[in-house]
């Protein structure tokens, strides 16, 4: 396990790369899903309120 984490001495570079990729791509994915949730809730609610009024 320690050997695996050590990455033949390149641990810092390898794991930072993977970490950065996780942050960026995961960040985009998270942002996407949060935005989707927000829009879903507000847009559909608003549409339903409009319908009830009319």
């Amino acid at each position: 396990m320690a050997e695996f984490l050590n990455m033949g001495g390149y641990a810092f570079y390898v794991w930072t790369s993977y970490f950065l990729a996780l942050i960026l791509l995961g960040g985009v994915a998270l942002w996407t899903s949060m935005q989707s949730r927000k829009v879903r809730l507000s847009a559909i609610r608003k549409a339903q309120q409009r319908r009830r009024k009319s």
Partner: protein, 234 residues
Amino acid sequence: MYRLAGRLAPWFGGLCLLSLALGLYLGLVVAPADYEQGDSYRIIYIHVPAAWMSMFVYVVMATSSAIFLIWRLKIADVVAEASAPIGAAFTAVALLTGSFWGKPMWGTWWIWDARLTSELLLLFLYLGYMALRGALDTPQGSARAAAILAVVGVVNIPIIHFSVEWWNTLHQPATISKLDKPSMHISMLRPLLLMVLAFQMLYFHNLMVRLRTLILTRESRASWVAELNPETGN
């Protein structure tokens, strides 16, 4: 389209996670260390897929922009708008991991290598596209203007790439070609292909979710929106 995207999204997401898990396992644990670069080459499993996706997404963006300009198909514009931030993220990942690979291999964080330089310019193109979209507030105006920019960009990319390559060979007669591998062993290649698949699926999944969001925003006055369940969005 909205419903189709909703139905496809979980499939893409599941496939992404599956290939990601398998690709990471094979790439980080099973595949042997490279005899020249040691374990540092394992960055390839995110660098190459990200670089590939950065170009793939731009082509998708430009193609759908062209479709939008020619046939006025609204959904094509939504695809382009949804793709831009994802593509920019892939480009940034390719650049950052390239830099973290370059440090142990070349001893420097950045070299003006032809591919890295082209990738940097590609990031600028993405950012310019997003900035233009953000600056123009009327939806119709920004859609067509952004589409024109995307098409102009895709016409330019080959020229930019060619010129950068040319410039690079002029200034560095002996280019470091450590990254040019003639052939890869199958145990190294398999996880790479899996990771490419995973990134591709990640893009499609993300695209589907963003499509739904954008369609909802744009069509918020349509009557079908009122029939959806706010919790699930279906």
